[in-house]
Amino acid sequence: MPTPVLMPALSPTMEKGNLSKWLKKEGDSVKSGDVIAEIETDKATMEVEAIDEGTIGKILVPEGTADVAVNTPIAVILASGEDKSSIKESGNGAAPVAAAKSAEAKVSAEPKQEAAQPPKLDIAPEADVPAGTEMVTMTVREALRDAMAEEMRRDGDVFVMGEEVAEYQGAYKVTQGLLQEFGARRVVDTPITEHGFAGLGVGAALGGLKPIVEFMTFNFAMQAIDHIINSAAKTRYMSGGQIGSPIVFRGPNGAAARVGAQHSQDYTAWYSQIPGLTVVSPYSAADAKGLLKSAIRSPNPVIFLENEILYGHSFPVPKLDDYLVPIGKAKVVRPGNNVTIVSWSIGMTYALKGAEELAKKHIMAEVIDLRTIRPMDIATVIESVKKTGRLVTVEEGWPQSGVGAEIAARVSAEAFDYLDAPVTRVTGRDVPMPYAANLEKLALTSVNDVVEAAKAVCYR
């Protein structure tokens, strides 16, 4: 029976890829382990190996095809004795397509998938972006890379270090091209030694350099947290202002997809508690770029929390030589009068989608992207609450002592008289992240959670 070759998923977050090259043509014989094609994902170019033995009966997706969904049949392999006619005769060539489509439809019905799509909202640029500035569309990943490259061109003391940042071009491709432009002296591959290289980075910062330390994910930074807090955050104070740590710790934070409890933790609240640290967590590509540039220039240690799922999302970014977004300033991303929704990073995808849903029910939500968690721009939140009288916070992290809890406490203390309903938190569930797809979905925040919370505070 002809065997379909399906578009493979090559990473936990991959949904589609480009079929960049066929290395076998129709009629070629293949055996298990032969490389038959090259697939380009947003992170890397990967080889596809044949699993079955036989002859390439038909190539269903020509090379050069972009955005081929995972599980789409891309070729058919014929077993010995079969010929091309058996593809049509048996109908097996077509069957998987239908199966894949139904699978796709099932997947996209899940809120998790909704969250993974960037909302079609036109986000206003920073107020100080000159009118008429050209906007270019780029991914968060590219924006982060450009920010580092620009700052490294500007200041010879800036360097980047971490696991796989140089020759591998970044585990998530964020540092792509930096080694080629700046060389191995300034783009430093480290051994897998988080505690050690975090401390080494802080030492270099104490010595006067401006390191960007990439953690492959912030989950691994728990091994390094002593240096982040005890060495980086406290030294300025402990030295009576003599010595600071101008260092940026950056990398993906929070849940990716289906990587289980140890790889899916949101550390925003952890770091936000520490005096001496600045904690930034952008959502859009423009903010990612402008805030990372500001973070690199900061004389203080900055925790820069990215999100793996957002890396591939595209946003308009002002085409300016030196685009900086100020640290410590929230942004009203969508105006509204009925309820204030505050979030940041990936939480914004739920918040914005939720606001769209609420608008259909005639609840106009004002959505604020906090962007910087510490120092927190609570004034912008309070200004909005004074108008709406209602507040919902949205985060993927755990509820107890979370960032939402902090916002709720401060708004209750400073704007109590303006509140028409209790501040409500939408958070990840109070459990370690499960692996099973259905349980993971239940553990994460959802658009529906946001909608229901907003309706509740509006007594609707």
């Binding site: 010595g207 060495s231 030295s239 009576g240 600045t278």
Partner: protein
């Protein structure tokens, strides 16, 4: 001093022949070493006294007995070389040339202290003197010091980062993470392991599978030497050799200083884990200051009177520091919220 080029990997651990090397000091060197070590000892004795009077709070770890280590090492340094250590740091600061008034005022938590009274005994710094702390987390200074060495290499200068830690810290994991990166990237860092035989109350033999700390770099191909840390001339010889090794771009070097602390781990340690006889034996037979004193007298480079004059002058500097640290005001309450961010 000639430096042997490393020819064989993992062969770098020098044994008795090399480890016994001492620098023949000139009269000026002996006198300087005497004065500097005495300065640390008198300062620490005074700090202990002031702690007892309640003028110094918290933890206070005295360096008495180990003076030859920092004084001998410092003699091999040049401008721009950095020093970093753990919490037993008063001796290192004085050896770096920091003002005893500023150090003592920090111990008493006064505004004239090096950290304006916000750091305390374990957390002091001086950019001017290239002293990078003063770190309270055991072993943290090892990765930080390796980072200072990274800075030197990045900048392309030939400065060396002296990274001190104890036999206790030598069992921390990040020490070996740092060893690996230091050798991998040939960073100019000297890991000075001050083996004073006790990690707080736990003796080396009760805490360490490999008690020869000079061998702790073998699996990273880092050369190491055991040094008589009670003889300032032996420390100086090892310092010259390892500093030259680093300046020439050969990467890190490990020095295990065999030393001893006379006092408890901190002021609140009754030191019941060792006998009084053990302490007395080291004091009587190996005291670093007595050794120099005896040589000065024997060679007639100084008379009893000359040495008494040095002692008096050191005491007066220390008393002045104590006086300052006692009467300097506490930090202004407004300092609570300063120096957190720039």
């Amino acid at each position: 001093m000639a430096v042997a080029k490393k020819t064989q990997p993992a062969q770098g651990v020098s044994r008795a022949s090399e480890a016994g090397a001492v620098t023949e000091f000139s009269k000026d060197q002996e006198l300087a070493a005497y004065r500097d070590m005495l300065h640390i000892r008198r300062f620490e004795e005074k700090a202990g006294q002031m702690y007892g009077m309640g003028l110094i709070g918290g933890f206070c770890h005295l360096y008495i007995g180990q003076e030859a280590v920092v004084v001998g090492m410092q003699m091999a340094l040049k401008k721009g070389d950095q020093v970093i250590t753990g919490y037993r740091d008063h001796g290192h600061m004085l050896a770096c040339g920091m003002d005893p008034k500023g150090v003592m005022a920090e111990l008493t938590g006064r505004r004239g202290g090096y950290s304006k009274g916000k750091g305390g005994s374990m957390h002091m710094f001086s950019l001017e003197k290239n002293f990078y702390g003063g770190h309270g987390i055991v072993g943290a200074q090892v990765s930080l010091g390796t980072g200072l060495a990274f800075t030197n290499k990045y900048r392309g200068n030939d400065n060396v980062a002296l990274t001190y830690f104890g036999d206790g810290a030598a069992n921390q994991g990040q020490v070996y993470e740092s060893f690996n990166m230091a050798e991998l990237w040939k960073l100019p860092v000297i890991f000075v392991i001050e083996n004073n035989r006790y990690a707080m109350g736990t003796s080396v033999s009760r805490s360490s599978a490999q008690t020869d700390f000079s061998k702790r770099g073998v699996s990273f191909n880092i050369p190491g030497e055991q040094v008589d840390g009670m003889d300032v001339r032996a420390v100086h010889a090892a310092a010259e050799k390892s500093v030259a090794w680093c300046r020439e771009g050969n990467g890190p070097f490990i020095l295990e200083m065999m030393t001893y602390r006379y006092r408890g781990h901190s002021m609140s340690d009754p030191a019941k884990y060792r006998t009084r006889e053990e302490v007395e034996k080291v004091r009587n037979e190996h005291d670093p200051i007595e050794q120099v004193r005896n040589r000065l007298l024997q060679k007639k480079w100084a008379s009893e009177d000359d040495l008494k004059k040095i002692d008096a002058s050191v005491r007066s500097v220390v008393n002045e520091a104590a006086e300052f640290a006692t009467h300097d005001p506490e930090p202004d309450p407004s300092e609570l919220y300063t120096d957190i961010l720039q």
